[in-house]
Symmetry: C2
DNA sequence: GTTTACATACAGTTGCGCATGTATATCAAT
DNA sequence: ATTGATATACATGCGCAACTGTATGTAAAC
């Protein structure tokens, strides 16, 4: 082989990232050699070292390619002035985020790597640390925003924020750990419905939100 | 060095397991060589291969050494006949489990490895799969047990069980990811108080359980 | 005397980083 | 439009380091 056109080069770069995503997911980052990636993409290690400096650089590129558009939505919601319907909006956002995840296998693979396979290889350290900081920041902002919302006892902004983030994270982890073993969006909708009903104080008969779909059976 | 007495041999075995636990935690399972472990325990790789067949065998021994006594408690609670105070008992059990974890650094390290560093190395595959199955089984049993409890709407046994397990898991993961950055037992107590109050339908003023400690500030 | 509890020594493999080869795309100059 | 020069997009090959598994040595416990 010899030199290829620019579009072809971009295609091989994408192919390398795709192959890396699949292999990192199925064999782990530390368990995947650059030769594995190159072979899966139909090239050799030379191509890898042309497009990326090393495995860490490759992984960072993979991370950058999957930035969550959902983050912008949350930013907007948190930045908005105190509105009476903050809690319903937040509930809808939680459910939407689950929907986005369910519909995007590539994101599921990356989340699996980032959430429950935080290998302590040097390649991942920077990305893991950045994501952890972002996560912590998000949680704190949710708590801060909940300070200006009316919560039913015994909830406090702090406990409610922790419960929300932990519930979302726990559900996602549970689902990623046993892929497709239950209906994440449906279960999540029920759980968030219960939690938000409790937060709002409507303990008894909360009217189902208009976007609620008919409940799937187990 | 030459042959040592049986008690000394048992000590070196324990020292190897201790060293492995520390190193697996700080550098990852794939990132620590058997030579690292042996050196940290003050012996050579020969000792490792005497006590264990390989790294996988060593890790399984490490896992066996830290079986949760809490599991037995939960088994008893789930097996007991339907009692009116099932929900309060379950709430106490959740808090107790958090307390056990907070007090045991070795268990924290192992949980960190098992929960958020599921490296896909062959050494871990068996243990990870076993733990995942056990976790799934526990969730299903909690749901089954909730079928004979009275839950306030909109909760169902299924959504309540998922929410409980996900909340516990999410809180623990959050805390393990940022070690010591918040008071896990205190935050957990608040979150579970809110969730269980919602499950029981006492939306307004739930009397604090007698074992509740004074709330720590952030 | 035999087994035990290691230490030491010896291949064998694997993967990384880099250096080098090479054919072609790109482009300026004619 | 053709041509030459150069940069590009890889492929190939090499040395090196690390790690594993095993084989063997050995002194003390039993």
């Amino acid at each position: 082989m010899a030199r290829r056109t620019k579009e072809q080069a971009e295609q091989t770069r994408d192919a390398l990232l795709d192959a890396a995503g699949q292999l990192f997911f199925s064999r782990g980052v530390g368990g995947t050699s650059l030769d594995d990636i190159a072979h899966a993409a139909g090239v050799t290690r030379g191509a890898v070292y042309w497009h990326f400096r090393n495995k860490a650089d490759l992984f960072e590129a993979l991370y950058e390619r999957a930035r969550l558009p959902q983050n912008d939505l949350l930013d907007g919601l948190l930045a908005a002035e105190a509105a009476a319907d903050f809690l319903p909006s937040l509930e809808r956002l939680c459910n939407d985020a689950l929907g986005v995840l369910v519909a995007d296998p590539a994101r599921q693979r990356l989340f699996t790597i980032l959430y429950l396979r935080q290998e302590l290889v040097a390649e991942l350290a920077a990305v893991i640390a950045a994501r952890r900081a972002a996560h912590r920041d998000l949680r704190e902002r949710v708590i801060a925003r909940l300070n200006s919302a009316t919560l039913a006892p015994p909830w406090t902004p702090r406990s409610a924020g922790f419960a929300l983030v932990a519930l979302w994270q726990g559900l996602v982890n549970e689902w990623l750990a046993e892929p497709g073993q239950f209906d994440l969006a449906g279960v999540g909708r029920q759980c968030f419905a219960g939690l938000f009903a409790s937060l709002a104080g409507s303990g008894e008969a909360a009217a189902p939100p208009p976007w609620a779909l008919p409940e799937k059976s187990a």
